[in-house]
Symmetry: C2
Subunit: 421 residues, 2 copies
């Protein structure tokens, strides 16, 4: 894409009421727009990142047998009364609204209830199980405070998967697969090394759950990390005798972290309340065993913005970057440089590489500053200097490594860089 056509502009300052680093950077770089506290719109660059995050998630959910669906925001009161989750005294972050008839409706903050009810039309016998269904859909939570940018919104995109299994044994096999799929997602998104599978409380659903916690000073959680085993324990459930549940080591390190995913065994909590049964091999009615698997794409994007950025701006890993190459023309109105930039732009794009082409009439310094702020993985400069010695400067945004590459090797260089990551 030509940057001269991109409508979003970078800015020096974020709105004064923005206190989170992720939103401040994303607003300044033109990725998002703040509508109100905890409610953000996505501009072209931001939506490109969000879509790439979503596609990484889809790859992994499909690989473990997930089938994608799309449930609704508007929620039927009767259904949630059956599970005891309609009352604001039980769930304190509902947004509610009303039909003209006066009937109260909820805005979905999660979707166990409607999906369990829906599955009654599709699950009858053991032959129909297991089922793994997921969606990437907007959730609404009426948070009292919303000061974490896109890491904790009042309106936010969520990937929620639900598993329907015959029994605990079948459930457990999938639950372990889901753990691996989640770690694959965090690896592809560039935060795998600082993300820990963390034992946590199961809340109202079960004794324990597993969280995925990314270490960052911006985090709201405290976890205790065992570096040897690459796992952690949430401080909610850690005992006085702090030790790793895998190796028993007491050398655990206290870290601030942000929860980027969580998975639960729901047992028969919802299938019993909503009567989702199946006929087993012996013709006996049994309740379906369920699990839920949450991961917020925008929260993941905000976490990446928060933990990988530096003083100059955002730093995107290739798989989730808005573009792969930032091609910068430094022409000073020299017609040969312009022609060369166009030639390289079309060579890269015809190789299927995502390029943002800074063809704007601006000084080189401004272009480089914008480029650092936007944070595309590779920056490629076409200038008089490159024209004269036949070598192009390619700079990695993460780490700042510079390579000088010949014109006919540019596509190969970029492709092998992208493969490596």
């Amino acid at each position: 894409m030509r940057q001269s056509q991109l409508f979003s502009k970078t800015r020096k300052e974020a709105p004064k009421d923005e206190v989170s680093r992720n939103a401040e950077l994303l607003i300044r770089a033109g990725f998002i727009h703040k509508e109100m506290a905890g409610v953000y719109s996505f501009l072209p660059l931001g939506l490109r990142v969000l879509n790439k995050v979503n596609n990484v998630i889809r790859e992994e959910m499909n690989a473990i047998g997930g089938q994608e669906i799309l449930l609704t925001t508007l929620q039927d009161r009767e259904l949630w009364e059956k599970t005891g989750r309609w009352d604001d005294a039980v769930v304190d972050n509902w947004f509610k609204t009303k039909l003209k008839s006066g009937t109260e409706l909820g805005l979905g903050f999660t979707h166990e209830e409607p999906l369990t009810a829906l599955m009654k039309n599709h699950i009858r016998s053991f032959r129909d199980l297991p089922v793994y269904a997921y969606q990437i859909q907007t959730k609404f939570r009426n948070e009292t405070r919303a000061k974490s940018g896109i890491m904790r919104g009042r309106e936010f995109l969520m990937k929620d998967m639900y598993s329907f299994s015959r029994d605990e044994k079948e459930h457990s096999v999938f639950y372990e697969k889901a753990k691996t799929a989640y770690m694959n997602i965090f690896n592809k998104a560039g935060i795998g090394e600082i993300t820990y599978i963390t034992s946590a409380s199961g809340g109202v659903f079960s004794q324990f759950s597993d969280e995925f916690q990314t270490v960052t000073d911006a985090g709201e959680d405290i976890i205790y990390v065992c570096d040897g085993c690459k796992i952690a324990v949430n401080n909610e459930i850690i005992s006085d005798n702090k030790s790793c549940k895998n190796c028993n080591s007491s050398d655990l390190k206290e870290r601030k972290s942000v929860e980027v995913g969580n998975i639960f065994n729901l047992g028969t909590r919802f299938s019993e309340a909503l009567n989702l049964q199946y006929l087993d091999e012996e013709g006996k009615e049994k309740f379906v065993v369920m699990g839920s698997y949450g991961l917020g794409p925008a929260r993941l994007m905000g976490t990446i913005a928060e933990v990988l950025s530096d003083k100059d701006g955002l730093v995107w890993p290739s798989r989730v970057a808005p573009f792969e190459v930032h091609l910068i023309e430094v022409s000073d109105e020299n017609i040969e440089i312009r022609k060369k930039s166009e030639k390289i732009y079309s060579a890269l794009t015809s190789h299927g590489i995502d390029v943002l082409f800074d063809d704007r009439d601006l000084r080189a310094g401004e272009k480089f500053k914008d480029s650092d702020l936007i944070g595309i993985p590779l920056r490629l400069i076409v200038s008089k200097k490159t024209e004269s010695d036949g070598l192009y400067e390619v700079k990695e945004r993460m780490g700042g490594k510079v390579s000088m590459i010949k014109e006919d090797s540019l596509c190969d260089f970029v492709e092998s860089f992208l493969k490596k990551i």
Copy 2:
């Protein structure tokens, strides 16, 4: 995809309270689920259609310079008060909700206001114009009655594009391009021949607007069609002297129709109310001239379901079909037939063809019935008969044409069929 893995099941009857033909068929075929009147969830087959419709729309919006964004559902009361559209006496189909602080919020039924406000950060000078931004996002409208299935929902997906131009002249050039892009969408979606650009009232925005009306007995609108000019006039604005505005012919035919798109010149209605100005070439402040361009992907999907279906079920045009080929194994447990079906399944999929493979242990009659109901464009049967004479029956769902094709020509046959459409 293997049909044995697909969790959705077909059913003989739709829910008794479902009165629309599109929703009845889509529910029976396992494409959607009714949550409440006017509120439908999308199951895997339905979501595949919706995504394909969305991609056809994106192709055409991107081709005319559209940049995709994603605005929010939650709406700030103050902003809508500035344009006079907050009051329920003015806009009678708001859904509203409240923050814990008591602050009232709206659920967006359209997005002129937030996008105009957002653009104040990105449009300053004539050099920043024109801008064309669009989103595919969920809208909420508190309809008193909701009896048209997914053709008119209380919660529904909308593609809404907004144009920002320097003046009426620049606006008009784009407006005409948008008309062509819309007709391209309806052609690709298989309803171009029965869809008419229709002069209509501009409502509160302007004197006139253009609607895209698809002729069907399920429609709620009445239009007057000039077959020669392929245009129509909505009965809202037709005069007593009914004649075609292009050729003056008085031979107009009255037809029932459904509005599948509409486009408006907004003039400076919103830029004045929200003070969106730019500096022109002479340094003078001017209000931006806007347009809006609506098209409902789910309404389009519902219209296709309604107008192209027959007594046996749904009939999908290739570009928006959930799959391109329905491969049906009629094995009667014959191991050779099973092997052959698997071989053909992998040959087709390795050619990039979307295949639903009915590998279920069911009688042939049941499989054919499901296949007719689901409505995939090509049905390919592998049975003992095909094995013995070396020819495969390929049946077109639309029109029922049958071709007998040799194994090594199957992929070519399918590919040329798909190209043709």
